[in-house]
Amino acid sequence: MREYWVLSKLQLSSLFGINKILHMKNSPDKKQAKRSVYGLLAMVLALGYVSVFYSLTLASAFAQIGMLPTLLGMMAFATTMLIFMFSVFETKGVLFGFGDYDIVMSWPVGVRTVAASRVTSMYAYNFIYAALLLIPAGVIYAGMAHPEWWYYPLFILMTLLIPALPTIIGAMLGTVLTVATAKMKKRNIVNILGQMALVLAIMFFSFRMNTSITDPSSIQGSANAMQALVERAYPPAAWFQSALTNGSVFGVIGMFMLFAASISLLLLFIGKNFVAINSRIKSTPTGGTFVMRAQVRSGKVRALFRNELKRYFSSSLYVVNTAFGYVMLLAAGVFCLVRPGLIAEAFSIPELSAARSVIPFVLGWIVSMGATTASAISMEGKTLWIVKSMPVSARDWLTGKLMVSLALAVPAIFIGCTMVAAGTGADAMEWFWMYVVPLSYAVAFGVFGLWLNIRMPKLDWQGEAEVVKQSASVMVCVFAGMGAGAVPAVIAGLTQSPWVQPGTVIVMLMLALWMWHSLVKSGERKLLQLN
């Protein structure tokens, strides 16, 4: 048990680099690390705010029809889906194949203890997501329903228990995917496709749920359908709800049993296969015997671009987290093409007539999520010395990274936006803005990602998830994209002014130019400061 606490403490102390900041002597490094932590905290607060807004909207709707308790079941279900999805992605890196595996395994500590400490680490990450979604819902529920005193301690307990099952199912699925593909030559492609399919399935499921609740014709019917869906699709969410709202002993016992069974099963499974799985992950297949032939020569920027592109596609986590925006864009395009009647019908509703002018900004927001640059510098990690020691200017280095982001964005925009424009029956001007607005977002957020990442780098990572999913620059970039999409969309929707689109494009490009100029000007100095 002592070893378990020591190992868990070691991993938890590295969460968000807190221990590093506490013991850092170098003041510029400390300042940089603090900036990242403040950025993360700001984003947690901002996400918390969104969560509060979402819960409040749901709570008001449910309260009107006397179904306020459904809020807790709904949010427990949403939390479960989110944790499940993240657990699949985090399996490789947090649970297996982590950077300090060799040294940890060389210590006189049992395999199960090491596995338990890794599960704790994963649980800690997942608990943050659970807290972000459930605490606002719980507080809002308490404010509106005025429950008895036992609600509060029980709520804390239930929130601690809720990540158990999605963590184990996600970890199991992630393990299967990782192990099954470990020996494949094209394992990254298979992993990427598998994870994309999973996210799309979850989104499709969530979309169907949201469609039913936002149907204005019958809120009562939708709410009942949702309650039934939560109970049917994921009974533990209903147990969570009944335990907190009715004091159901069955719900409390159910959650406890589920927690104990899930964690025991996960520890049993992982403890038994921990070394075998890690060995399989770490043993990369070798290439064929190399025979020397004439090598192809290329220019400096092209070489940097090619290297960056290879780095990008070498990480399924990196691809899934960034290219997902483009997959959504293509999916939206296909939907618009396949169901043009539904789109036309929606636009014929007077309340939605303004929605046409909003489309380019929604597309822009989706494109902003695809910026690979927000983590591109951090992804260099321990290999940063290579580019720093080479005769490469910061401008060339950053150009290579920006080119990857644009190389992914531009084709996706042309294909996706063409389909959206065709499916929505856009006129010539609308076609034009549906290309130009998202393209300006691609450029602006490509540069913005670099601008952020060089200021909030995370180079001492042990697993890619720390950079791609949990780093400050990524969270700030994603959140800024939401804002950059929402603000002009609201203005365009309210004013119907034809100047919002060109105005937004100009602002985006001006910002991109300013940030690029700043990057190039201070790039050498900032690159030298990166350690």
């Binding site: 002597k25 170098n26 003041s27 400390k30 043993s283 990369t284 297949p285 070798t286 290439g287 064929g288 015997t289 190399f290 020397m292 004439a294 090598q295 192809v296 020569r297 290329s298 220019g299 400096k300 092209r302 070489a303 940097l304 090619r306 290297n307 290879k310 780095r311 070498s314 990480s315 990690g381 321990k382 290999t383 010395w385 290579i386 720093k388 020691s389 080479m390 005769p391 490469v392 200017s393 050498e524 030298l528 400061q529 350690n531």
Partner: protein
């Protein structure tokens, strides 16, 4: 080839990692740099390589300042750190081509050099493997080949023999001598004093960031062995 004047570097606080260090490396020199762990060797090498900023002093490579013209300086040199963290997503040959592209090595030169160095280090058949699947020693060999691929005028090596098998160590020493015979210079850190004594024509000893001895090997060590001198100086200086 390399002139360091009054170099000072601190990592915050009062302690200086490198304190008023001055060294002059000429073409043809194999210059060894020795000292205890934490004495300031890696900090000095990283500052010369243009990877680390420093507080004061100057570093000039082939007459150019690393502060004012980092790209020009880096074109003339190659650096291998103590731990060969290379791009694990690339195969060995892809990494070597990447380095050759960055340094603008011509097609004919790169083919000839890759073949020569990879054969000598017995790495040719393994160049199609991902670097991520290579052992520490193999990564070190790839790092060495990548450093030699553009025939640098100044080669900076931080503990280059760590992880290399005896044959590869011997091969590296031969290439180091050959490079210097062609007019290049090598500045490298090592803890293996026997290697430094046999290989280097000049030596510098650093203790707690300060240079305590530097110059021609024979003049610095006199009749003593390098090990004896090192222990005397670092224990009592």
């Amino acid at each position: 080839m390399l002139t360091i004047e009054h170099l000072v570097k601190s990592y915050g606080g009062d302690v200086k990692a490198v304190d008023d260090l001055s060294i002059h490396v000429c073409p043809g020199d194999i210059y060894g740099f020795i000292g205890h762990n934490g004495a300031g060797k890696t900090t000095t090498l990283r500052a010369i390589a243009g990877i680390l900023s420093f507080d004061s002093g100057s570093i000039r490579i082939n007459g150019r300042s690393i502060t004012d013209d980092p790209i020009g300086c880096k074109k003339d040199m190659a650096y291998i750190p103590d731990n060969p963290d290379l791009y694990e997503h690339l195969t060995g040959i892809q990494y070597l081509n990447f380095v050759a592209d960055i340094y603008g090595v011509s097609g004919a030169d790169r083919d000839a050099r890759i073949k020569r160095y990879a054969d000598a280090f017995e790495m040719t058949p393994r160049l199609n493997d991902l670097i991520g699947s290579c052992s520490h020693g193999m990564k070190q060999k790839i790092a060495v080949i990548s450093a030699l691929i553009h025939a640098p005028k100044l080669l900076l090596l931080d503990e280059p023999f760590v992880g290399l098998d005896p044959k590869a160590s011997h091969t590296l020493k031969e290439f180091m001598k050959e490079l210097c015979e062609r007019g290049s210079a090598i500045f490298f850190s090592t803890h293996v004093l026997e290697v430094a004594e046999k290989l280097c024509n000049k030596i510098a000893i650093i203790k707690q960031g300060k240079l305590i001895a530097a110059g021609d090997m024979d003049t610095v060590k006199g009749d003593e062995s390098l090990e004896t001198l090192f222990l005397e100086l670092t224990d009592h200086a």
